[in-house]
Symmetry: C2
Subunit: 218 residues, 2 copies
């Protein structure tokens, strides 16, 4: 969590954490803040106060609540959550058995980490690492690498708007347009575009649309 | 490794692995194949026989070999490696001190996992998890999730070619074209486009280019 800018640790039905014990021993610098500041809500409070995303490796076997499927993936979730206007909780199950069907059925969204079909079950620490890594741009924490941070959401939205205008200008069939826009939004969202990438693509689609629709006085 | 379709484990200067010991105990199903089949080359053999990618959390402090910088990130590396025509080894250092400058200087590429600026140092298991997760599409292993697999490289290349033609058709300045193509290639590469996404975008750029260059007989 601390590696990717997260800080709010919630534990449900967990054993006590001894500052001299194993969890503190493996926690690195998180022993200074995240572990001592953790809270212990119950599951009902969690479900009522947060937008909850449950993680499970094999969603097909848990498909009791069809409305919540198809599942999302961490990369797509990163983009989805930018439009969620509520506190978000990522919910991981028990190390041995994960979340059960009843628990998954009470959460808002189900997320699966793509992995090898013959062995997709990650341990808890690995699953959380990948989820937090993919969602890191949402915390606003700056990276140790200078080169790449996700563009402002407003600029990315402008890119989507310009893409839409381009579709209109090149005569992309009206009935396909919503689907095509969704496809583009997902692809770009997964890539976490930088400000420069976003501005460049916006400019290219603007130019592409202009050429497709020459002004009347030309 | 097994979770993401990898199988070839190389250990350098590592202690013996006891089938009753700790490493086997934590290895899950990898105790059946990856651990017993591991090999132990020396560092010189590794460097001479593989395209080597070293992982380090804080590349600025290791900048002794400027030609290998700027560093890459796992998502970008996934795209880069599709053009490497040699066996590839991902090289992780010691749990406590990582790879030293001399070692990094002898590798072909340096990769850093973007993380929080105030605490970017991951432990070895977390770093490997993220790297293998990002590179999973390169192994050809099918995922447990039906929905998304990366398009064939030839189709993605066709998309890049069509993007280039679009740039020409809308009169994108010649001197900027190589840079813009690189930008597009990186963004799309990071997103691991599906076959449908790739085909859709290729078609849109083709159409955009056609409108920009109406045939002479119209």
């Amino acid at each position: 969590m601390k590696n990717f800018g997260f800080s709010e640790l919630l534990l449900i039905d967990a054993p006590d954490l001894d500052p001299e014990g194993e969890a503190y021993g493996f926690a690195g610098q998180a022993r200074e803040d995240i572990l001592p500041n953790h809270r212990r809500p119950n599951f009902e409070t969690l479900v009522s106060e947060y937008y909850t995303v449950g993680f499970t490796a094999i969603p097909a076997e848990n498909a009791t609540a069809p409305v919540r499927y198809p599942v999302t993936t961490p990369a797509t979730l990163a983009d989805e959550l930018t439009t969620v206007n509520a506190p978000v909780a990522l919910v991981f199950g028990r190390e041995d058995t994960g979340l059960n069907n009843d628990e998954l059925g009470r959460l808002d969204r189900v997320c699966s980490i793509p992995a090898a079909n013959n062995y997709p079950v990650l341990n808890l620490g690995q699953a959380a690492t990948i989820a937090l890594y993919e969602l890191r741009d949402l915390t606003g924490a700056s990276s140790q690498l200078p080169e790449r941070t996700r563009a402002a959401e407003a600029d990315i939205e402008r890119l989507y708007g310009q893409f839409d205008a381009f579709l209109g200008a090149i005569g992309h069939p009206k009935e396909k347009r919503a689907k095509t826009k969704r496809l583009f939004r997902r692809l770009v969202g997964r890539a976490h575009p930088t400000a420069r990438e976003t501005a460049t693509l916006t400019g290219l689609f603007r130019r592409g649309a202009t050429f497709a629709e020459p002004p009347d006085d030309e």
